[in-house]
Symmetry: C2
Subunit: 332 residues, 2 copies
């Protein structure tokens, strides 16, 4: 294991320290927790809280700021945060207008966010939850009942955060987040595994000429393994699976995310993007916005995922609203 770390057990804490030192204008740490909250919480607005296991950076704390998240709760690497920490986050950012929890669909996360939600309800905090399950690869998986939540979660942060900035109430913010979730479909693949520091060895193995299709963001098994093919062929394979699940029709407008898993050069993501654009255009689809980069990573795993969000006028407009966070900025 060759990593830029100190003691593996200190990695989470040192990372959170490093984030707050990098972005003091955006975020601050809630004392004695692994919760980062937005600096200068402004106005009497609904709050949006997300979180989950670490190792997916910049997810989630990189999306704290104007037009996205108010708090992010960090669990240990690939491990759900505990209910008490989630509850601390909720209390810290609630401004009397209620809180929306955005949770990726993993059993541990769903259970712990649920428990935190109950604690908040007992304190009289108005609170709602949405579960992101954008990964079309497999129906149930190692850590999941139902589909997994992956890179599309970032777009849910963006939509919900924009709705909040417009002053919408909790029920309306929740409704539009749920609409976006129904319209977001993703699929990923891996060229190589990653190593959780405390485990000290790779989370799976692949032969030199082999890739795994449908891999999750914790290295969970996908649909199958196959010999490596060209970028165009692999891209088309992922795209076809998304398209089979939720056909994209001529005249529709979409947002596209080409997400790197951690170790994939940006050059390769642009090569993939070139092909996805051609595939979408051949369907008569308009691509309203494209995001290419590392948005939802798996430590140093090599690979990528595609995310397609079918837009309507409302979602398009929310997606275009300004956002100002460390890892996601929209300037109008």
């Amino acid at each position: 294991m060759k990593k830029l770390i100190n003691q593996p057990e200190n990695s989470l804490n040192e990372m959170l320290l490093g984030m707050t030192k990098a972005y003091p204008e955006y975020l601050t740490r809630l004392e004695n927790t692994n919760v980062l909250i937005r600096q200068n919480l402004d106005g009497q607005k609904v709050a949006v809280v997300s979180g989950g296991g670490s190792g997916h950076e910049p997810t989630h704390a990189g999306y704290i700021g104007k037009g996205m998240l108010d708090a992010a709760v960090a669990g240990d690497i690939f491990t759900s945060p505990t209910p008490d920490q989630i509850y601390e986050a909720i209390k810290a950012v609630d401004r009397g207008k209620g809180v929306l929890l955005v949770v990726k669909n993993y059993s541990g996360d769903v259970m712990n966010f649920d428990m935190a939600k109950e604690l908040a309800e007992m304190e009289g905090i108005e609170i709602e939850q949405v579960i992101v399950n954008d990964d079309v690869a497999v129906e149930d998986s190692t850590f999941t009942a139902g589909r997994r939540g992956i890179a599309g979660t970032v777009l849910v942060h963006k939509i919900a955060g924009a709705a909040v900035e417009r002053g919408w109430d909790l029920q309306k913010v929740k409704a539009v987040a749920e609409k976006s979730i129904k319209r977001i479909h993703s699929m990923g693949m891996a060229l190589s595994p990653c190593t959780v520091p405390s485990a000290g060895k790779p989370n799976f193995t692949l032969a030199e000429d082999e890739v795994e299709i449908g891999t999750g963001i914790h290295g969970e098994p996908g649909t199958h393994r196959e010999k490596i093919k060209t970028a165009d062929e692999l891209t088309e394979e992922l795209f076809n699976k998304i398209q089979a699940d939720e056909p994209i029709k001529s005249g529709e407008e979409v947002a596209l995310m080409v997400n790197g898993m951690g170790a994939t050069p940006l050059m390769e993501l642009y090569i993939v993007n070139n092909k996805v654009h051609d595939l979408l255009k051949s369907l008569g689809t308009t691509i309203h916005r494209t995001f290419v980069g590392e948005y939802m990573t798996s430590l140093e795993m090599a690979g990528m995922s595609l995310t397609v969000l079918k837009l309507d006028d409302e979602l398009k407009s929310l997606l275009d609203d300004p956002a100002d966070t460390p890892a996601f900025k929209i300037i109008n």
Copy 2:
């Protein structure tokens, strides 16, 4: 070699296609070239042009936009672009106010940008050049006479681009770019090599427990190899080398960049950032801005570099000016 590519010889072209498709609002491709230029070149301003070998994405084309570059010329992977392509870029973005070339100090780049500059001068274009040589690791290297230009180049783009937006003339833009270059010092290290697609094999080898200190962004040798140490120890080693070269004194203000080489998880970069902040603070230094991420990569090399820019009031103010490019945004 496990990569998301098609034919290796098509990688550069497909990457440029993928970039223009991702960011049509920012950039467009100059026909029959590997030059990307800014969409909507506005006003009668000085133009800033950079470029170099590909494989360092988002450098340079990711920095095209308001407050940074007007054009980026892409060579093949780790290979200088040719003078004719650089000349095409210059002609395309010159608006009668002159052009500043920002060149990383590699023999091939310096020679080819020089030739392009001469071609432009013969056409009566007012043109100046600055050479970035921020890498304190080694004095001469595989592809360089003098010090190499690495991640600090991105901050030179930022400073020069901000000066242009303020309407400064070419000589004044050049002068402030040169001032910033004198004040930027960087140092990198590698945990693993990378593979240029056309070569098909890694550009160097390291033992399982070994890192290389001072490695260049093309895998050029650094100062030495050593057994891997903790992130804190490695960070201090790089920082001390920068500090020995250009002591940072109490009361000084700096901008800091913690740059990932391509395959290093963001989590590790934040752990490094945590230590650099402590080191700078122990010197009594104020850190005005911190940039953590992949700004100047080496394909899928694992490793990082530190860059320190010593600020004065002018540089601080230019650094804080708005920027809007695909890979670098400053919102005020």
